[in-house]
């Protein structure tokens, strides 16, 4: 069987990667191997149905959330609270812990399980105070040379009156700017919904991973359908058009690797999902921890500055 057009595009990305001078020898081959392995797993281009299944799984109410992974993966966890200025945003988690014996700073959005939690945590939609808390945690990482792990799981930044008045746009920009300045290794993983500005605020990382059934998008399928088709029920059609699934994100060079989930999705076996995520984080961090800080920063910026398709 000849390779599909989709596979050809992935192979094309591989061959372009080979010629990129950003990644030095050993690192490049690790990157290539990872991509090769992923390529082997991905047969065909995801269909509209496949994409919609990802949307549903990414939002599955039993899907593991940030604190579930914290509990499964980190020892000596200490949660930080507050931005030490104005408030403590429960939609954003920040803390310190040990991952496989190495101290890391972890930030990530947190959805709620029950009605009370969901309201308190605003379904994982942060206010400016949440981004300020994340930035504070990242500054601790910078002072002490700890890697930063960011788990992205949000429908988007919270569109509230207070949030707007208190500089939601500026907070999202500033959080990205802080990440662009860090000289410590940073790894982001989209573990559910990677929704728009709310997601990218904490995803300007050296490596960006995505779980197999996570989605990463500039707008929600419903929002897109509402604007373009004037009909939110066309969400599935919209998703098929803007392709928020992990395979397409990998193909577009927006993410660096796909983290496998247990068959049927992370919610079927949270422990196994955590183990797979933990392995990916460990492997990715090992690639980064020996790179000098200013070189990490230079590569990180160069990578994000290379994104886009224009002529």
């Amino acid at each position: 069987m000849p390779p599909s057009e989709h596979e050809l595009r992935l192979r094309d990305r591989l061959s372009r990667l080979r010629s990129v001078s950003l990644l030095g020898g050993a690192k490049l081959s690790g990157e290539l191997q990872r991509l090769q392995r992923q390529l082997d797993r991905i047969g065909e281009e995801p269909t509209g149905d496949d994409i919609w299944r990802s949307v549903e799984l990414a939002r599955h109410p039993d899907r593991p959330y940030t604190l579930d992974y914290v509990e499964a993966l980190l020892d000596d966890w200490f949660e930080l609270h507050g931005d030490h200025r104005r408030g403590d945003d429960a939609a954003m988690i920040a803390g310190l812990g040990k991952l496989h014996g190495r101290t890391v700073v972890l930030v990530g959005q947190q959805k709620g399980r029950d009605i009370h939690q969901r309201s308190e945590r605003r379904f994982g939609m942060s206010n400016p105070e949440g981004y300020a808390k994340a930035m504070r945690a990242m500054k601790i990482a910078e002072t002490h040379g700890f890697p930063v792990i960011s788990l992205v799981d949000t429908p988007g930044a919270y569109p509230g009156v207070d949030a707007e008045q208190h500089g939601q746009g500026g907070a999202i920009a500033e959080s990205q700017a802080v990440m662009a300045r860090l000289t410590v290794p940073t790894v982001a993983c989209v573990i559910g919904e990677g929704g728009s500005g709310g997601a990218i605020a904490i995803a300007l990382a050296d490596r960006v991973l995505m779980q197999e059934n996570a989605i990463y998008s500039v707008i929600s399928p419903e929002g897109c359908a509402m604007i373009l088709w004037r009909d939110a029920s066309q969400a599935k059609k919209a998703a098929a058009a803007f392709k928020p699934d992990a395979v397409h994100c990998l193909e577009l060079g927006v993410i660096d690797a796909i983290v496998p989930e247990p068959k049927g999705g992370a919610q079927t076996d949270p422990q196994a999902a955590a183990q797979l995520l933990g392995e990916s984080l460990r492997e990715t961090l090992e690639d980064l921890v020996d790179v000098p800080g200013d070189e990490l920063r230079r590569r990180r910026r160069a990578k994000f500055r290379s994104l886009g398709v224009f002529a």
């Binding site: 746009g169 990218i200 058009a241």
Partner: protein, 278 residues
């Protein structure tokens, strides 16, 4: 205060044309094109700031004959083969036809009151000033050009946010432009950000708010989420000036509101302060 209701939801659908194209939404005065042009598209009666096209904006700011445009032909491609009611490529071609621009931003070198600077000026008429790959790339090149030539960067934004037809790559223009500003700052150069109506969504949440100094035009909407989204969520009546420059100033988000007739002099002063070369 003018009542312009442009939020990110309308990014690719212009508001229905008013009965008379140059009717002031603030006080309903009528103007001829040449009257408005002479007044820099500011209503003489009520001070309403009409939208201003990128080239006209540049002409109103720079010293005569000093503007040298860069990357004029750079345009977005269609990475997703995006198709809603019409193909994205068709929308792009149409916008190019109607605006005479290859995308929603114009960049280049110029001088203001004798001081060298780089300019990056957005044009809302091109698909609602939405930011896709071309806007991100051109903005980034403007940062590099400013850094190389040792001059500050002056930006004028007017945007409904990220261009959803480019999907996740549109979102990636946020970190891309943020990294470009950081490189500019590391090179020791300043960015002076002027936010015109509207500066919302992904542009507000990336480079526009990272200027060393943040200016806004009177009445400019500067909100991350559109007022309609916020209203739907909160189900409260929003204040008259919700998300407007005036509210942003009151809440400490910006340094100054500068009426258009004073903008050139204000930028001149700031270029002197930031030691832009003569």
């Amino acid at each position: 205060m003018a009542k312009i209701d442009v939020s990110i939801e309308t990014e690719d659908k212009p508001a229905p044309p008013p009965k008379h194209p140059n009717t002031c939404p603030g006080c309903h005065s009528h103007y001829r094109d040449d009257e408005l042009e002479r007044a820099q598209w500011v209503c003489a009666q009520c001070g309403h700031h009409f939208p201003m096209r990128a080239r006209a904006r540049i002409a109103s700011l720079v010293d005569d004959g000093t503007f040298y445009e860069e990357a004029a032909d750079l345009h977005s491609e269609d990475p997703l083969g995006f198709f809603d009611l019409r193909p994205y490529t068709e929308r792009l071609a149409e916008a190019e036809m109607s605006t005479g621009l290859a995308d929603a931003i114009v960049i280049g070198q110029g001088s203001i009151e004798g001081r060298g600077c780089e300019l990056a000026v957005m044009d809302f008429a091109f698909m609602g000033g939405s930011m896709g790959s071309a806007v991100g790339e051109k903005f980034s090149r403007a940062c590099d050009s400013a850094a190389e030539r040792g001059v500050p960067l002056v930006t004028v934004t007017s945007s409904g946010g990220a261009r959803m037809q480019e999907g996740i790559l549109a979102l990636m223009q946020l970190p891309k432009t943020v990294c470009a500003v950081e490189d500019l700052h590391d090179a020791g150069q300043a960015m002076l950000s002027v936010m015109a109506h509207p500066t919302t969504g992904g542009v507000l949440a990336s480079f526009a708010t990272l200027g060393d100094v943040l200016l806004a035009e009177p009445g400019a909407l500067m909100s991350f989420a559109g007022p309609r989204v916020v209203q739907e969520l909160t189900r409260e009546k929003l204040s008259e000036d919700f998300g407007r420059a005036e509210q942003n100033l009151r809440f400490g988000q910006i340094d100054a509101i500068v009426p258009r007739p004073e903008l050139r002099a204000t930028l001149g002063r700031l270029l002197r302060i930031f030691n832009a070369p003569v």
